[in-house]
């Protein structure tokens, strides 16, 4: 799944480690998400969307 996590994370000036801590996952999970190698659960997608201060999940996660 393609995501805009990296783009929005840079916008917010937060590191992978910081975002990982905010949503209670490992840095490796954030990296996998940014690379589009891992499809998150709805709960994690929601947490990441809120952590990146976006309104909708589909703003961050792009369904192909």
């Amino acid at each position: 799944m393609e995501t805009k996590i990296r783009e929005f994370r840079k916008e917010q000036k937060i590191t992978q480690e910081e975002l990982a801590a905010m949503v209670e996952v490992t840095r490796q999970t954030i990296n996998s998400l940014e690379q589009g190698r891992y499809n998150p659960s709805l709960e994690l997608a929601y947490k990441i969307t809120k952590a990146l201060k976006k309104d909708k999940i589909e703003d961050v996660f792009i369904m192909e």
């Binding site: 209670e24 996952v25 490992t26 490796q28 999970t29 891992y38 998150p40 659960s41 994690l44």
Partner: protein, 143 residues
Amino acid sequence: MIIAKPEWFTRRKYGGWGLGIKTWQGAAYLAAMFIALIVLIGITSESIQMTLAVTGIWMAFLLVDVFDVMWKLKKDERERIHEAIAERNAAWGMMIVLSLGVFIEVLYNTLNGRVYVNPFVMGALVVGVIIKSVTNYKLERQN
């Protein structure tokens, strides 16, 4: 008594099951445990029964601590999926080897006019079937 803390350790991904050391506290804990065992064996060296008893208590203590840490170790959803797939694959590998072992043993014993199957090997397969059934039943009821 629980001493070890989950944040000192990590899930062992390569080379077996159990825990891997994450921080210096984890390394210090393991070092202290082994030094304690050496000291206890040294103190009780005059009586083999005492040495065995002390080693047994030490092992029980370590097992309780390790299982407590493994139970409390935090994993995110990606790590849980990875662990589940790795454990499933390991279980399949073991099941194939055990089944092959039972088949070869039955064949060998039959050719030698005996009826015998290793109860531990059969036990492992039966326990596996029971655990799988109970897990599936519980999961179906939960969600």
